[in-house]
């Protein structure tokens, strides 16, 4: 399984020792990643092997039931399966056969482990192997854990990409250096980055996950990996195991983050500094101007970030450095010290960090600090609003295109909106 202890041998790059309190966590489990992954990989079906709770989580987190027949579902384990009246593997085979018959366009089936499947030690690896044999070559079968006992929210994507990394074809021995951008990005952002890399003369460039499972990019010792998301510890490790080198960089949020991130690739591919400046100049200017328009609204505002997606340190860095906000606390479900080294280096010193969560005590801290804005999950937002604290749903940060130059203004605007709304409303007490 994919446990979460910090990587051995990694030096502690963090500027501070985070506060670690053991209490109730208020974060989604990794299953929730499926909500964006199934939109991204268009010929994949994500089959959760779990309980009614898992199915209910997916439907509640996906909000309104917008997709007629989404490319995900839950094989719900029932009493007779547990009582040994039915063989779980046979049952799973039956469910999968029916599913694939109904959805013949599916090229990749992804079995997703849940708490129940893991507690009863249902071996999804074995199941995936067997199903792969049964449904080859039409359908490839993968598996990963999205369970709440192993993963939080975005770690589902991390585990999925790690599984995908193990499936990638090996690059040819003498393949020239190539760039792989790992981490699901909205298509529009992906296309923007691709144009910039082209202009810089960096290539070939691939994206993981790819939009179709048939287009899995090759990986090998000449592959340079740029992480587009900060939560990809397992995926990075799996890509390294395939010989790839992970480039160190901050994450592409805001003008500064995007530039540093692109520069990491440019440096690895020997792009001349002058060329890099020339190619990125227009984007940098647009991003600075767009963020600048919102800066007055955010300057000096005190922001409290609850743990959610692991994007919190990058968001805080953006808010502090580009928008002039004051960060009260950065909460994160997990701090991957090595991948965050670039962010820690940029963050103003002295900001309190917390890793993991005791939600009740964290709320006490938030109430005591009375921030101007709390970035938090959907369970906490309305209660905080009712207490007079403006909030921003953290889930919007993973559902909205926010990376890259052209989205830097949108990113700032996300935080301005709740503040602007308060200024607009004349409702009385």
């Amino acid at each position: 399984m994919n446990a979460m202890p910090p990587r051995t041998g990694a030096q502690d790059c963090g500027p501070v020792t985070p506060l670690r309190q053991r209490g109730q966590h208020e974060v989604f489990c990794g299953l929730t990643s499926i909500i964006w992954l199934h939109r991204k990989v268009q010929d994949a079906f994500f089959l959760i092997v779990g309980s009614r709770t898992c199915a209910h989580l997916m439907q509640s987190a996906a909000g309104v039931m917008i997709f007629a027949e989404p490319r995900f579902g839950t094989a719900i384990i029932e009493e007779r399966d547990l009582a040994g009246m039915a063989d779980l593997h046979e049952e799973l085979d039956r469910v999968v056969a029916r599913l694939l018959a109904r959805r013949p366009e599916i090229r990749m089936l992804v079995l997703v482990g849940s708490c129940p499947s893991e507690v009863i030690k249902l071996d999804l690896g074995k199941a995936a192997e067997r199903l792969a044999r049964l449904h080859a070559p039409a359908t490839r079968v993968l598996h990963f854990s999205g369970s709440g006992i192993e993963t939080t929210f975005t770690q589902g994507e991390d585990n999925f990409l790690a599984a995908l990394a193990r499936e990638l074809p090996a690059a040819e021995a003498k393949a020239p250096p190539s760039l792989m951008v790992a981490g699901a990005l909205p298509d529009v952002v992906e296309d923007q980055f691709r144009r910039i890399f082209d202009a810089l003369g960096i290539g070939p460039v691939s994206f993981l996950p790819s939009r179709a499972s048939s287009g899995l990019p090759p990986v090998g010792p000449a592959t340079r990996v740029l992480l587009a998301q900060p939560y990809l510890g397992e995926a990075a490790r799996a890509l390294e195991a395939r010989g790839a080198t992970v480039l160190a960089a901050p994450f592409p949020l805001g003008e500064e983050g995007t530039t540093a991130w692109l520069r990491a690739a440019a440096d690895a591919f020997g792009v001349a500094p002058g060329r890099f400046d020339a190619i990125t100049r227009a984007g940098r200017r647009r991003a600075r101007e767009a963020v600048g328009r919102h800066r007055a609204e955010l300057e000096g505002r005190r922001v409290f970030l609850f743990p959610d997606s692991q994007l919190e340190p990058s968001i805080a860095r953006f808010l502090a450095r580009e928008a002039g906000a004051e960060i009260v606390e950065i909460g994160s479900p997990y701090l991957h010290r090595q991948h965050l080294a670039g962010e820690f280096a940029l963050l103003p010193p002295g900001i309190p960090f917390s890793e993991g969560q005791d939600v009740d005590r964290q709320l006490d801290r938030c109430r005591a600090a009375r921030p101007d804005l709390a970035v938090c999950g959907m369970g906490l937002a309305n209660p905080l609003e009712a207490e007079g604290i403006a909030t921003k749903w953290s889930i919007e940060l993973v559902f909205t295109p926010v990376q890259g130059y052209e989205q830097a203004g949108d990113l700032a605007e996300l935080f301005v909106r709740p503040l602007a709304r308060r200024a607009v409303l004349k409702l009385g007490a």
Binding site: Q59, L99, P116, M378, G379, P383
Partner: protein
């Protein structure tokens, strides 16, 4: 193992959570992994609740398994009691904790907490949300209104001085918030004292006062049925369980309550009850015989069928429920309307049944609302599972006299939009209109079905071919009867062994079926 995409009900511990969130002074300590905390958003987002629901989750992890999950549970219990100072706690396990068998009941008992602890056994792998809510409410009632040691016969209060409890309304219930107001007003107008409303708004100590009432009013049998049965057996309280949804059911309800209260049933309905006149008024004529498909929890589905058939003059063309526990009631009602009852929690089966029934109106849950949108059939929501839209800012009960008015408005207005589409169809050949122009309330994002010219084309494989001309003629028929016309014509053609449908066939079939 069952493959599911969307579910009508959550797991049983979500039902327990709804009871905890309904009450004051009660806290729920749930042994569960972190992802299960998603359930908080049901309350804070869907219902716009302004405080967190009173639930503490232990959020144990894989690394805790086999080591100290039991200890984590005990700490969570102690901390919750200290922090939230509830009058009582309920303790239990989610699906995952059920598998690790930590015995929350025993662990909590061992803590010797200063307050009552009510343990819950909610089998996650066989039961569902409503059952969990009913079981939790029943356990609480038993615990706080225990059966008397030596049952004494009930002292009968004089007629006109009797009181009742209103049982069943909960957090996340479909319009429960407003139903309580409406039912309370009606009861008070009758001269019946309301002793207690539970679980919504009651505290554990309030439950101890339940036996003070002379009888019970069960608004939602799915939630309060078990408790009401128990109260009857152990405290001798009779109950009324007619949901007062619609004009006739409200009258029946008031008559039954009046009987138990020993007062006269109201002779006339209040002037504010506009629904009967609206339904008789001339522009309602076009409602006659509209085919309506009904699906929801048993209480709302059965009640809706009666209103639809008897009070609006619709033709019930489908009736079903996802509440297996109440299948019997729905089957009985289906017989009355001559339809095949649909007892299923598989939304795809419900969708298939809707397509086969070709309704002109769907009364369903949020799930059916989405089906309706895709098939471009007017729809009104009548039952949980709920959506943020089901908590309107305005007063909008389903029950009682005002409830009947609300039903008229909310079921008939989608059809008015249908009439607008009819006009759109009439002006099709006008240069400003075309068949692709959809009314704006259907949204502009082109759904796959909406892209096709005619939804009935996509939905079913056509058994016989249509000539281009016949097809064109068919399009001239208003869209809301077009599906039926198409189906009838095809049946007519198939029965006569025709290979193609011409304009002639179309009108032959029309004449045949209009006889």
């Amino acid at each position: 193992m069952q493959l599911t995409v969307w579910t009508y009900e959550g797991p049983p511990h979500v039902g327990a959570m709804r009871i905890a969130a309904s009450m004051r002074g009660l806290h729920y300590v749930l042994h569960a992994p972190q992802g299960d905390t998603y359930a908080d958003l049901l309350f804070t987002m869907i219902e716009r609740r302004d405080t967190r629901p009173p639930v503490t989750y232990t959020t144990f992890k894989a690394q805790d398994l086999g080591a100290d999950t039991a200890e984590i549970f005990k700490i969570a219990c102690r901390d919750a009691v200290e922090r939230f100072k509830p009058e009582a706690i309920i303790v239990g396990a989610s699906c995952t904790a059920e598998l690790i068998q930590d015995d929350p009941a025993g662990l909590a008992a061992a803590l010797a907490l200063p307050i009552p602890v009510i343990p819950l056994e909610l089998p996650s792998y066989s039961k569902k949300e409503n059952w969990g809510a009913a079981e939790t409410f029943y356990r609480l009632v038993r615990a706080f209104a225990p059966a008397p040691q030596r049952p004494a016969p009930r002292v009968v209060r004089p007629a006109g001085e009797r009181s009742c409890n209103i049982l069943g309304p909960t957090s996340l219930g479909f319009r429960h918030r407003d139903d309580i107001e409406e039912v309370r007003r009606m009861l008070e107008r009758l001269g019946v004292i309301v002793n207690l409303v539970a679980p919504l708004g009651a505290s554990p100590s309030d439950l101890a006062r339940l036996p003070d009432a002379d009888f019970n009013v069960v608004l939602y049998p799915e939630i309060a049925g078990t408790a009401a049965d128990w109260l009857k057996r152990n405290h001798g309280q009779a109950f009324v369980s007619i949901p007062p949804i619609g004009v006739r059911a409200t009258a029946d309800f008031l008559a039954a309550v009046a009987g138990l209260a020993g007062v006269a049933a109201p002779a006339a309905s209040p002037a504010a009850l506009r629904m009967p006149w609206y339904s008789r008024s001339i522009d309602s004529t076009y409602l006659t015989g509209k085919r309506v498909f009904i699906f929801g929890d048993a209480t709302h589905a059965v009640a809706a069928a009666r209103v639809a058939a008897d009070e609006l003059g619709f033709a019930v063309c489908g009736l079903g429920t996802y509440s297996r526990e109440f299948a019997r009631e729905v089957r009985a009602a289906a017989v009355r309307y001559g339809v095949e009852p649909l007892i299923s929690d598989d939304h795809l089966a419900v969708e298939d049944a809707i397509i086969a029934a070709q309704p002109e109106l769907i009364l369903g849950t949020q799930m059916e609302r989405h089906v309706a949108k895709r098939l471009r059939i007017p729809c009104a929501v009548i039952s949980a599972p709920v959506h943020v839209q089901d908590f309107p800012a305005r007063y909008s009960p389903q029950m009682g006299h005002e409830g009947a008015n609300v039903l008229f408005d909310s079921w008939v207005h989608p059809l008015m939009m249908g009439l607008e589409e009819h006009l759109l169809g009439m002006f099709r050949d006008d240069f400003e209109f075309n068949d692709g122009a959809a009314p704006s309330h259907l949204g502009h994002a082109a759904a796959p079905v909406a892209e096709a010219e005619d939804p009935t084309l996509v939905v079913l494989a056509r058994p016989v071919a249509w000539t281009g001309e016949a097809e064109k003629e068919l399009r001239k028929i208003p869209f809301f009867v077009r599906g039926k016309a198409r189906k009838n014509t095809e049946r007519f053609a198939v029965e006569r062994g025709l290979q193609t449908i011409t304009i002639e066939t179309l009108y032959d079939a029309k004449a045949h079926y209009s006889r």
